[in-house]
C-alpha cells in the first residue's frame, strides 16, 4: 500500500528468541546452567538490541508512512486471500517491542536467580524464549493471521509456563484452564478475522486502517441492525477479553499464578495479558467507526476494573492480590481504548508493565524469602528484613495507587479524564463516558485500598511468620534485586514520557502521545480544566484509599478490619471466594457440557447408531439368515414339496395378467377416466378389460382397451372395479379404487 515502506530485518526480533528456544530445547538438557542462561539472555538481549535500533534509528524516519515492514515470505495465498508472513513496526508495535524485549530481558536475568535450584532450568528458559518470540510475533504481525500466530503462541507458552511445575495437578489444571479460556477468546478473534476479511477483503492492518473510513462498507448495517464494524469490534473484543482477562473470561488469570513468579511478572502482568489492549488499539480505525462496540469495550473494561478491585480486597495470597490487580488494571486499559483514548490506554499499558512487573518480582523475591509461601497473613514487618525489595515495592505501590509524579498517576489520569471528556459516543450513548469514568474512579479508590492493604500487611508492623520461616527470611541475591531496581526506576519515572504537556503549554512534552500519534491517532484532547479536576480527584481518592487501608491494616490487622469482617461475614466470605464465579461456570457450563457429551456418547453413538441402526441391520440380516436356514429341515420330501409348491406358484403367477398397483384416475366434474395399463408399458396383447364403475357387479365397459371413461349421475363416493382377463387362460386379476367425486371436485 504505502510506497515508502521500508524493509528492515524485523524478522530478527522474534527469530532470535525462537532460535534460542529451539537450541535450548534440543541441546539445553546437557548444558550447564550458565550456558543455558547465556543463550537465553543473549537471544532476548539481541532481540532487544535490534528492536531498540529499529525503533530509535530507523523508525522515526518512516513512522509517518506506516513504519518498517519485513516480508519473510508468502504464508498463505489462495483465491482472494493472501497473507504474507510479514512483520511491521510502527510506533505502537515498536513501543510494545521495546517493553517486551526490555522487561523480558530483565526477567531473564531475574529468573537466573529465582530458578537457580530448579531441575528444569533449561526448559524454563526455552519456554521463556519461546514466549518472547511469540509475543514479538504478536505485536509485530503485519496482518491479523500473523498476529493470531503470536496470539496463540503466547497462549501456548502461558499454558506451558503455568503448568511448569506439572507434577502438581492444580498447576496443570490451571494451565489447561488458561489455554481453554483463551481459546474461547480465540474463537471470537477468529470470527472477527472472518468478518474483517469479508468486509474489507484484506487482513493487513495497514490496509484495514486505510479501508476503514466513514462511508465504507464497515459502517453499513450487517446483522441485527448493527454495522460490520460493530460486529468486528465485538468479536475481536471477545478475543481480547479472553487474552486480557476481562469479564466474563477473566477466571483463568488468578489461577495462572500457579506458574513461577517471573512468568507471572512477564506474561501475566507486563506483556501477554495486554495483548488484547494492543489489539484493540491496533484495530482502532475499525473501532472508531462503531461507538457501540467501543462502548462495550469501555463498559466491560470499567466493570472489570471495579469488580476485580473488589475481589482484591479480601485475597490473602500475595500473588492472587496482584493477579486481581492485574485484571483490574487491564480493565483500566480497556476503558481507555474503549473511550477512543487509544494513546492513553497504551500509555497505561506501558506504565503498568513496569510497576506490575516490579510488584510481581517483589512478590517473587518475598516468597523466595518466605520459603515459597505467599500467604500475606503470615507476613508483616518485611520492610527491615528485605530493604531493597521493600524500596522497589514502595515505588511500584505508589505508582499503581496513582500518587502524583509516579508513572501510574499520569496514565490512569489520562484514562479517567478521557472517559469524561470523550465525544466518541455521540448523543445516543452519551451516558457511557461518564459511567465509565465513575466506575474507574471507584476502581481507582479500590486499587489504592487493596494495594495499600497488601503493602501494610506485608511490610509494616511486626512479622507474623512462624519462627522457622522467620529465621530464613533474607534479601534476594543481586541477580534478582538488580532487575527490581531497574523496574522501580521505570515505575517511578516512566510516566514522565507521557506527561500531559498541554497543561503547561508544551504538548511536545508528551513524548509518548506524540510518538503514538502516527499509529493510533492523536491523543484525546482533554480540556485543561477537566484534566486538572480529575488529577485532583484521583489524587484525593488515592490518598483516601491509602488512608483507609492504613486504618484497617497499618501495622497488621487492626481493630476496624476485624470489626468489619465480623459485621459482614457473608459478604467478606463471598468476596474472598471471588464471588464464586468459578463454581458458577463449573455448574452451568463445564459439568453440564461433560454430562451432555457423555449422554450423547452413550445414547446416540453407542445405542442409537451402533446398536439400533447398525446392529439392527445386522440383526435383521441375521434373523433372515436363520429363517432361510429353517426351510432346510433335512427331509427330502419337504424339499420336493417346496419344489412342487414353487413350481405351482411360478406357473400360477406367471399366468396372471399384470395390473398396475393403483389405477390412474382422472376426474373432471362427474366424468372419470380410468387407465388400467401398467405405467410406461404398452397394453399387453389379448387382454380383456372390464370396468365396473357403479359397484353393481356388472361391468359398464368391456373391451380390449385398457382405459375407459364414465360419467356418473351424481357426485359422491364410488368404487371402481377393473377386472383384467386373459382369454387364453381364463385367468383374472382385479383391482379397485374408491373415489370421492365431491371432494375431488372441490380440490380442483
Amino acid at each position: 500500500m504505502n510506497a515508502s515502506e521500508t524493509l528492515f530485518n524485523l524478522r530478527l526480533i522474534p527469530l532470535l528468541p525462537f532460535l534460542g528456544a529451539a537450541v535450548l530445547i534440543l541441546f539445553g538438557r546437557r548444558w550447564k546452567r550458565e550456558a543455558v542462561l547465556t543463550v537465553a539472555a543473549a537471544a532476548i538481549g539481541g532481540s532487544a538490541l535490534v528492536a531498540f535500533d529499529a525503533f530509535f534509528t530507523r523508525l522515526p524516519a518512516v513512522a509517518e508512512e506506516g513504519g518498517l515492514r519485513d516480508v519473510v515470505w508468502t504464508w498463505m495465498s489462495t483465491g482472494n486471500l493472501s497473507v504474507d508472513l510479514a512483520f511491521r513496526m510502527d510506533a505502537l508495535s515498536g513501543l510494545l517491542c521495546l517493553i517486551i524485549t526490555f522487561i523480558g530481558f530483565l526477567i531473564h536475568l531475574y529468573s537466573a536467580g529465582y530458578m537457580e535450584h530448579d531441575p528444569d532450568y533449561p526448559r524454563f528458559f526455552a519456554y521463556l524464549n519461546l514466549f518472547c518470540g511469540s509475543m514479538l510475533v504478536l505485536v509485530l504481525g503485519d496482518s491479523m493471521p500473523v498476529m493470531f500466530v503470536g496470539w496463540e503462541g503466547v497462549g501456548l507458552c502461558s499454558y506451558l509456563l503455568i503448568g511448569f511445575w506439572y507434577h502438581e495437578t492444580p498447576n496443570a489444571d490451571a494451565g489447561k484452564k488458561a489455554f481453554i479460556t483463551n481459546r474461547i477468546g480465540d474463537f471470537g478473534f477468529l470470527i472477527g478475522i472472518f468478518l474483517t476479511f469479508q468486509a474489507t477483503g484484506t487482513l493487513r492492518f495497514s490496509e484495514i486502517t486505510s479501508f476503514a473510513t466513514a462511508g465504507s462498507v464497515l459502517t453499513a448495517p450487517a446483522w441485527l441492525g448493527m454495522s460490520n464494524a460493530f460486529w468486528i469490534g465485538t468479536f475481536l473484543f471477545i478475543g481480547a477479553a479472553g487474552k486480557s482477562a476481562q469479564i466474563p473470561l477473566y477466571v483463568w488469570l488468578p489461577d495462572a499464578m500457579a506458574g513461577p513468579t517471573p512468568v507471572s511478572a512477564l506474561i501475566h502482568a507486563a506483556t501477554m495479558v495486554t495483548a488484547g489492549v494492543y489489539m484493540v488499539a491496533r484495530m482502532h480505525a475499525v473501532y472508531v467507526l462503531s461507538p457501540a462496540a467501543l462502548a462495550i469495550v469501555a463498559l466491560v473494561g470499567a466493570a472489570t476494573a471495579l469488580f476485580a478491585a473488589v475481589i482484591g480486597f479480601a485475597q490473602n495470597d500475595f500473588k492472587k492480590v496482584l493477579a486481581y490487580s492485574t485484571v483490574s488494571q487491564l480493565g483500566f486499559m480497556f476503558a481507555g481504548v474503549g473511550t477512543a483514548n487509544f494513546a492513553s490506554g497504551v500509555f497505561h499499558l506501558y506504565t503498568h508493565a513496569f510497576f506490575k512487573a516490579g510488584l510481581f518480582l517483589c512478590a517473587g523475591s518475598i516468597m523466595h524469602a518466605m520459603s515459597g509461601s505467599g500467604d500475606i497473613r503470615k507476613m508483616g514487618g518485611l520492610r527491615k528484613l528485605t530493604p531493597w525489595t521493600h524500596g522497589v515495592f514502595l515505588v511500584c505501590w505508589l505508582a499503581i495507587c496513582g500518587v502524583p509524579v509516579f508513572s501510574g498517576f499520569f496514565s490512569k489520569d489520562a484514562i479517567v479524564a478521557g472517559a469524561f471528556a470523550t465525544g466518541i459516543f455521540g448523543d445516543d450513548l452519551s451516558w457511557v463516558g461518564p459511567t465509565v469514568g465513575v466506575l474507574l474512579l471507584l476502581a481507582a479508590l479500590g486499587t489504592a485500598f487493596y494495594m495499600s492493604r497488601l503493602y501494610f500487611l506485608v511490610f509494616s508492623g511486626p512479622t507474623r511468620a512462624d519462627a522457622q520461616t522467620q529465621h530464613h527470611i533474607h534479601e534476594s541475591p543481586p541477580s534478582m534485586v538488580g532487575p527490581l531496581v531497574v523496574l522501580a526506576v521505570g515505575a517511578g519515572l516512566g510516566g514522565l514520557v507521557g506527561v500531559p504537556g498541554g497543561l503547561f503549554g508544551h504538548p511536545e512534552w508528551n513524548l509518548l502521545g506524540h510518538t503514538l500519534e502516527t499509529a493510533v491517532g492523536p491523543e484525546l484532547d482533554v480540556p485543561h480544566n477537566t484534566e486538572l479536576l480529575f488529577m485532583a480527584v484521583s489524587t484525593v481518592l488515592a490518598l483516601i484509599g491509602i488512608g483507609l487501608a492504613y486504618t484497617f491494616y497499618g501495622g497488621g490487622y487492626r481493630a476496624p478490619a476485624q470489626k468489619f469482617a465480623a459485621a459482614f461475614p457473608g459478604f467478606v466470605q463471598l468476596v474472598r471466594d471471588k464471588f464464586r464465579v468459578d463454581e458458577l461456570y463449573g455448574a452451568v457450563i463445564i459439568r453440564p457440557l461433560r454430562k451432555f457429551a457423555l449422554a450423547l456418547f452413550r445414547v446416540v453413538d453407542r445405542v442409537l447408531i451402533d446398536q439400533i441402526l447398525v446392529g439392527g441391520v445386522a440383526a435383521l440380516v441375521d434373523v433372515l439368515g436363520r429363517v432361510s436356514r429353517a426351510f432346510q429341515a433335512g427331509d427330502a420330501q419337504r424339499y420336493m414339496a417346496a419344489f412342487a409348491i414353487g413350481a405351482a406358484a411360478l406357473v400360477f403367477f406367471a399366468t396372471r395378467p399384470t395390473v398396475p398397483s393403483t389405477l390412474k384416475v382422472e376426474v373432471s366434474g362427474t366424468t372419470v377416466s380410468v387407465d388400467a395399463s401398467r405405467a410406461g408399458r404398452a397394453s399387453p396383447r389379448g387382454l380383456t378389460y372390464a370396468f365396473d364403475f357403479d359397484d353393481d357387479g356388472r361391468p359398464e365397459v368391456v373391451g380390449l382397451k385398457s382405459d375407459a371413461r364414465y360419467t356418473y349421475d351424481q357426485a359422491g363416493e364410488h368404487t371402481i372395479r377393473v377386472t383384467v382377463t386373459d382369454p387364453r387362460w381364463h385367468t383374472q386379476s382385479k383391482i379397485k379404487r374408491k373415489i370421492d367425486l365431491s371432494a375431488a371436485g372441490e380440490r380442483k
Binding site: 440380516v621 441375521d622 433372515l624 439368515g625 436363520r626 429363517v627 432361510s628 436356514r629 426351510f631 432346510q632 433335512g634 427330502a636 419337504r638 424339499y639 420336493m640 417346496a642 419344489f643 409348491i645 414353487g646 413350481a647 406358484a649 411360478l650 406357473v651 406367471a654 399366468t655 396372471r656 395378467p657 399384470t658 399387453p684 396383447r685 387364453r728 387362460w729
Partner: protein, 492 residues
C-alpha cells in the same frame, strides 16, 4: 443319416472323454490294488482331459461360425466350446484333487474317474445341445454321473443320504423336464429341435399348454442350477458328496445347466412373445434371481460347516448368473459373454476352494467346521493365501476373477434399466457374502491354531492349487482375452 469326419471331429473332445472313460473301466479290471496302479487310472483320466482340451483348441478357430450337426441335434459354436473348456478344467482339476482324497478316505475306485469323465461328457452334450433329445441325454448323463459320484463314498452316512436326496429330487425334476418336453413337442406340432420350436412359437404361443411345457423345462433347468425355490437339494448334496465331487458338481453341473438355459432360452424360446409381458420368462428369471441371491447368501451366513456354507454360496452365485440370464432375455447382447466369463471364473474359484477343503482334512479329522480352520495361515501360508484368494474371488473383490465376473455381469445388466434394482440387490447381497467368506479368512489368519494341521498332502493337489490360483489371478488381472473369447463384450 450321413456321418462324415468333420462331424466326428467336431465332437472329438466329448468322444475322447467317453473313450477314455471306457478305457479306464477296462484298465481297472487289470489294475492291481496297489496304489500306484490306481494312480495310473487317474493319470489316464488327466491325459484324457488334456487330449480333449487339445482337440477343443484345435477347432476353436473354426467355431467362429456356429455349425449344426446330426440334423440339428448338436451345435458347435464358441459358447459351447468356451463352456467345454470350463468343463474340462473342472474335470481335470477334480482328477487332480480327488486321488489323494480318495486314497486317504479309502475308496479309490477307477469308476470314480470314469464317472467324472462321463459327467464332463454329459455336460458338453448339454452345452452343445440344440435339440430336446440331446438336451435330455446330456442332462441325464451328467446327472446320473453326479448322483453316483455323490453316493460313492459308501461308508459315509452323509454321502449316501446326500446321494439319495439328490437323486430323488433330480429324478423328480427330470419328470418335470420330460413332461415339459412332451407338451412343447405337442403344441409346436412335433418340433424337438430348438430352431424348429422357435419357428413355431408364434403359432404355439396361442396355446396355454405350450406355456406349461416351457415353464416345466425352465423349472427343471432351474433345479439343476439350484435356483430358489428349487435349490433345496444343493446344501445336502454338496455336504454329503466327497469334497472333490462337491467342487465338480458346484462348478461343472451348474455351468452346464446354465449353458443349457442360455441356449434354450436364447434360441428355442427367444421370441419376444415368450420373453416379455406377464407370461414372459424374463419376469420369472428376474424373480428367481432376486430370491436366489437373497436366500442363498442369507442362509450361508449362519453356516458353520464350510462345505454347506459354500453350497449356499453357490446358490447365491446362481442368483447372480440368473441376473445375466435375465439381462440376455431383455436384449442385452453382452450378457451372454458375461455369464460365460462368470461360469469360467466360478469354475476355477469353486474347484480351488473345494480342493483346499479336500486338502485340509484327513481320515480322522475332516476339519469341515470353520473353527477347525483356525491358524491355517501360520502353518501353511501358501495354501491359506490360495484359499483367501478363492474366497475373495467368490466375494468379488479385486484383483480376482470373481471380481471381473461380477463386474462384467453387472455391467451387462446395467444396460437394461429394468434390472437396476436387481443389480442393487446383487451388490448388497455381495456384501453379505463377503461377511461369511471372511469368517473363513478370519479363522485362517486371525486365530491361533487349536490343533496341529495334518493335511492330505500330495503333489497333484499342490499342482492343482497352483493352477487354480494362477487362473483366478489371471482372470482377475488380465481378463481381456477371456471375456473376448466368450463373445462380443460391446453391445449395440
Amino acid at each position: 443319416m450321413i456321418f462324415d469326419s468333420s462331424q466326428i471331429l467336431a465332437y472329438l473332445p466329448m468322444l475322447i472323454l467317453i473313450g477314455m472313460g471306457c478305457l479306464i473301466l477296462l484298465a481297472e479290471t487289470f489294475a492291481t490294488t496297489a496304489t500306484a496302479s490306481r494312480q495310473g487310472l487317474a493319470w489316464l483320466g488327466v491325459g484324457g482331459c488334456i487330449a480333449s482340451l487339445g482337440a477343443l483348441l484345435a477347432q476353436w478357430g473354426d467355431a467362429g461360425q456356429a455349425t449344426t450337426h446330426f440334423q440339428g441335434m448338436l451345435i458347435v459354436d464358441r459358447m459351447a466350446l468356451y463352456l467345454d473348456g470350463a468343463f474340462l478344467a473342472a474335470a481335470l482339476l477334480t482328477l487332480l484333487f480327488a486321488p489323494p482324497f480318495l486314497r486317504e478316505q479309502g475308496f479309490e475306485f477307477g469308476e470314480f474317474y470314469v464317472m467324472v469323465l462321463f459327467g464332463a461328457a454329459g455336460m458338453m452334450m448339454v452345452a452343445h445341445a440344440a435339440h430336446l433329445v440331446t438336451l435330455l441325454i446330456g442332462i441325464e448323463t451328467m446327472s446320473l454321473a453326479a448322483y453316483i459320484l455323490t453316493g460313492c463314498w459308501r461308508r459315509n452316512l452323509r454321502s449316501s443320504e446326500g446321494a439319495m436326496k439328490y437323486f430323488l429330487m433330480g429324478a423328480f425334476a427330470t419328470g418335470f423336464l420330460v413332461y415339459g418336453m412332451a407338451l412343447v413337442y405337442g403344441t409346436t406340432g412335433g418340433e424337438l429341435s430348438y430352431a424348429g420350436i422357435a419357428g413355431k412359437v408364434p403359432e404355439a404361443s396361442k396355446n396355454p399348454v405350450f406355456y406349461f411345457g416351457e415353464y416345466f423345462i425352465l423349472i427343471a433347468l432351474a433345479f439343476k442350477v439350484a435356483a430358489v425355490p428349487f435349490h433345496m437339494w444343493a446344501p445336502d448334496a454338496y455336504e454329503g458328496a466327497p469334497t472333490p465331487v462337491t467342487g465338480f458338481m458346484a462348478a461343472g453341473v451348474k455351468a452346464a445347466a446354465f449353458g443349457g438355459i442360455l441356449r434354450i432360452l436364447d434360441t428355442a424360446f427367444g421370441n419376444p412373445l415368450l420373453v416379455f409381458d406377464f407370461t414372459g420368462w424374463a419376469n420369472i428369471i428376474v424373480v428367481l434371481a432376486a430370491a436366489t441371491m437373497i436366500l442363498g447368501n442369507l442362509a450361508a451366513l449362519r453356516q458353520d460347516n464350510i462345505k454347506r456354507m459354500l453350497a449356499y454360496s453357490s446358490i447365491g452365485h446362481a442368483g447372480y448368473i440368473l441376473v445375466g440370464v435375465a439381462a440376455m432375455g431383455l436384449g442385452v447382447t453382452t450378457a451372454k459373454p458375461a455369464v460365460l466369463f462368470y461360469l469360467m471364473s466360478y469354475t476355477f474359484t469353486t474347484l480351488g476352494s473345494f480342493g483346499v477343503i479336500a486338502w485340509i482334512g484327513n481320515r480322522r479329522d475332516e476339519r469341515l467346521f470353520i473353527d477347525d480352520w483356525a491358524g491355517v495361515a501360520q502353518a501353511r501360508p501358501g495354501v491359506a493365501m490360495a484359499m483367501a484368494l478363492f474366497l475373495l474371488s467368490l466375494g468379488g473383490v479385486p484383483p480376482t476373477g470373481g471380481f471381473f465376473a461380477k463386474f462384467f455381469l453387472f455391467r451387462a445388466a446395467m444396460e437394461s434399466p429394468q434390472l437396476y434394482w436387481l443389480v442393487v440387490i446383487g451388490v448388497l447381497t455381495s456384501v453379505v457374502s463377503i461377511y461369511y467368506y471372511l469368517r473363513v479368512v478370519i479363522a485362517m489368519y486371525f486365530r491361533d491354531p487349536l490343533r496341529p494341521l495334518e493335511p492330505t498332502d500330495a503333489a497333484s493337489t499342490r499342482a492343482a492349487l497352483i493352477l487354480t490360483a494362477m487362473a483366478v489371478l489371471l482372470l482377475g488381472i488380465l481378463p481381456g482375452s477371456f471375456i473376448e473369447w466368450a463373445g462380443p463384450v460391446i453391445g449395440k
